[in-house]
Structures are given as structure tokens and as C-alpha cells.
Subunit: 231 residues, 2 copies
DNA sequence: CCGTAGAGGATTGTTCAACGATCCCTCAAT
DNA sequence: ATTGAGGGATCGTTGAACAATCCTCTACGG
């Protein structure tokens, strides 16, 4: 009986957590993630509230949730906009990623590790690449690194990085050259995974660090050009 | 509860400045930090909104800010409560601290570093200790580690840890043996600072790791006993 | 032709009242 | 001891109202 109650307690998370504001924010979050609302878009209270059939108060509550996640920015008396990351933001994102992700790898105990999630993300990326779905490759890439962070088995660390990866997607949407951006890193993720499978943390960490440095450089390079266009 | 509401009404005078919701959250945050609202307390929208003289909408926004900082937990249709950390939470907090703080030290470039903030926090702790203000020692201790994280010069990393440290304060308040908890670590912070001043990152990192391990053990030990009392 | 001031419309900021939904407590019945 | 019904309290959401602010378009003067 105790077993069953424990399992039931896990399901509880799937049950009650559905206020209207949260559901609205879920919808908007995924719309933003998929690029339906590109960075810079203004989200009008009237139109979105009307389209979704919720009141302004509820919608504003959803906006606030997403603002806390740094996906929206709020400008007084002007409304909320999908965040436009600056180059400094992108650099800070990668600074955080390098700090945390490398620390996760370094902090791993003795092998073997639970690498199913990582292997799954690698496979996901390969499949998307075969189908020419470069956006899907980018998503799989993010999944790979999210799984990597999950190896630390720290809820707080995972949550921080979830938000950081969501921000990173904003940068990817601005860049909008998904193949050039994501293709080179499929092989590198495989190499990291193989190093971990071999139990070689040191190699995995240095591969990861190199990956992040290269990725930052590439993203910033394209990003700076792209942002320059608008100004 | 009646006492508390009366006192809250006195804070109403401070409500002259920035966004109302932020000011409300400032008030509540410090009230929680000082233990005025102990963990587990339910914060009623009606009574607190009435005592502070703000509308429910504004108060709910303040609640949301604090919920995002993990100081409050929100239960659907039940309201918000001051968070009660579990032992697992405390362990996760220290897991995150160890991951991030050690990574920050490891990731430092070549010396010298900007250690003024750290030195200031050490001095703050010494002064509080001289005055027997053990709660102040705990605060200074947190400041020390916040300054340590600031060395990474990453806005996102700093923000994560700010929230983690705020949570930690909740644990400290439950434990409520500030001298036993904080006194031993004044000297250890000094040692870490000196290692950094000498440019010895490796030593600083191992001192820091040892500090965090000991601190976790001590907090968890007392915390588990303390939580056991309530059950 | 250009720049500026101002009027008007549109949008957001804030509060309030109301109603339904949910939870908790109590009490009676099995 | 467990179940179920009822009542009271609180939360969730909506809709409306009004003030404050921003944006656009127009008209005026240089």
C-alpha cells in the first residue's frame, strides 16, 4: 500500500496544477519557443485576450509569469514584447552554460552514468538531420544539454538551465540560419556522449568546453550581424 | 495573526515609492527573512491586502514575485504559504551551491581578482561576531558567498544564487541556533579569501568544497531533528 | 518643404465588485 | 471508524470603469 501511495503522490503533479493563467502562459511559451511570436513582437492584451478568450486580468497574469522567465519584457504603458536578446545576453547565457555544464560533468561520480537521456537526444538530433529539419536539430541539441544538466540530479540547477535554454532559443530565432548553426554540433554531442560512456570525465569536460566556446563564437558572430541589420 | 496584521499596517507608510507590487514584496520578503512569518504560515489575500491597503490584484502580483523566488509556495484554491523546506531541499541547495560556487572559483582567470566585496563581507561577519549578533553573522556569511559568485561576472548565475541563498535563509530560520551554525565559518571564509588573495585557486576551491560539505552536514543534522519535532 | 505643437484615438495601469469553483470543517448517518 | 452532505471561507476569473500614457495624424509656422 505504501508503494502505491508513493506512486500516486507522483501523479499528483499532473492533476491540479492548471490555473487558467498558467495554461495561457504554457500556450504563449510554446508559441514563442517555436518562433510563432518572433523576438520583438508586441503582444497586445486585447487581441490575444480576445483570441484566447480570457480576461485581461488573467492574460496579464500569464504575461507576468513569462516576464519572470525572461521570455517577455514589460515596458511601462507600452505593453509586453517578446524579448530581444542583446549580444551581452547571449554571452552571459554561454558564460552560465559553460560554468554549469562543465561543473556538472566534473562533478559526476564514478561511472557508469545514466546516459539514456543523452543517447535519446543524440538519436533525436540524427533523425531530424536526416529529414533536413534543422530547427528540430536545434531542439534536439537543447535536449541533449538539458539531459546533461540532469545528470547533476539537482532540481534547482535543472530549473535554472531550463530557463537559460529557453532564452537561448530566442537567440536562435533571431539568427535563423539553423543548418549552419546546429549541424556541426551533432558529431560533437556524439563525441561527448562517447567520452561519458567510456567513463572519461576529463575528456568529456574539455570537449564540452570546446563545444561551448565554438558555439558562442558562431552564434555571436551571426547574431551581431543580424542585430546590426535592424539598427 | 491579529498581532501580525496590526504590525503590517504600520508598514503601510513605506508604500510611497516604486511599483506597488514590488514594495509589497519587499515588505513581505523582509518579514519572512526575519522570521515574522514563519515557514508554513498561510498568507491570506484578504487580511494582508487589507492590512497593507492594496488591492488583491496587486497583492497577488507581489505573491507571484516571492513565489518565483521560492520563498512562497502557491497551492491552487488554497492560497500561498511561506515555504517549508524539506531536508531534500536543503541538500539540493547545497548541491547547487557546491556545483556553482566551486565552478566560479575554478573558472577565475589569472589573479589579481576584485576581492573588495569578499573582504567587506568578512569584515561584516567579524563585526557582527564581536557584537554577538549571530543572525548578522549568518547574513554576512551569505553576503560573502554572494560576492564570491559575483566574481563570475554573470548576471544569470548571480540571480540563480541570489534565490538559492534566500531559500537557505529559510532553513537557517527553522534551525534557529545561529551561533552554533555560523560561528565556525568566519575563520573558514577568511581562509578562502586569503587563498584567493594569494592567487591559489586550487586551494580556495578545496577549502570551499570542504566548507560546503561541513555546512551541509551540520545544517541537515540540526534541521532533521528540528523537523522531526513538528511531526 | 520641414519641423513642431497639439488634438484625438488607442492601449495600458489600476482598482473594484461580483459570481462561480474549490477547499476545509463540522456533523450526522451507516 | 468511515462516508457523505452542508455551510462558510477563500481563491480564481471575469467584466467594467476610469485614469494615465503613448502613438498617430493633422495643422500651423518658419
Amino acid at each position: 500500500m505504501a508503494e502505491q501511495l508513493k506512486d500516486l503522490a507522483d501523479d499528483r503533479a499532473l492533476l491540479g496544477r492548471t490555473s487558467t493563467a498558467e495554461r495561457v502562459s504554457d500556450i504563449l511559451r510554446s508559441r514563442i519557443a517555436e518562433g510563432y511570436f518572433p523576438p520583438g513582437t508586441r503582444l497586445s492584451e486585447d487581441s490575444i485576450g480576445g483570441a484566447l478568450g480570457v480576461s485581461r486580468n488573467t492574460l496579464r497574469e500569464a504575461f507576468r509569469l513569462l516576464t519572470h522567465e525572461r521570455l517577455l519584457v514589460h515596458e511601462l504603458n507600452r505593453g509586453v514584447f517578446v524579448r530581444v536578446l542583446t549580444v551581452e545576453d547571449v554571452e552571459d547565457i554561454y558564460r552560465t552554460r559553460r560554468l554549469v555544464e562543465c561543473a556538472v560533468v566534473r562533478g559526476l561520480g564514478e561511472p557508469p552514468y545514466g546516459l539514456d537521456g543523452l543517447a535519446g537526444a543524440v538519436e533525436e538530433g540524427r533523425r531530424a538531420a536526416r529529414e533536413g529539419d534543422w530547427k528540430g536539430v536545434g531542439t534536439a541539441n537543447i535536449h541533449f544539454h538539458r539531459e546533461l544538466v540532469a545528470l547533476a540530479a539537482s532540481e534547482r540547477t535543472a530549473e535554472l538551465m531550463r530557463s537559460v535554454f529557453a532564452e537561448l532559443r530566442l537567440a536562435f530565432h533571431v539568427v535563423d540560419e539553423p543548418q549552419r548553426l546546429h549541424e556541426p554540433y551533432i558529431a560533437r554531442n556524439v563525441a561527448i556522449l562517447e567520452a561519458l560512456q567510456a567513463g572519461d570525465r576529463g575528456k568529456a569536460e574539455s570537449l564540452l568546453a570546446g563545444y561551448l566556446d565554438d558555439s558562442l563564437e558562431r552564434v555571436v558572430e551571426v547574431y551581431r550581424r543580424r542585430v546590426g541589420e535592424d539598427g
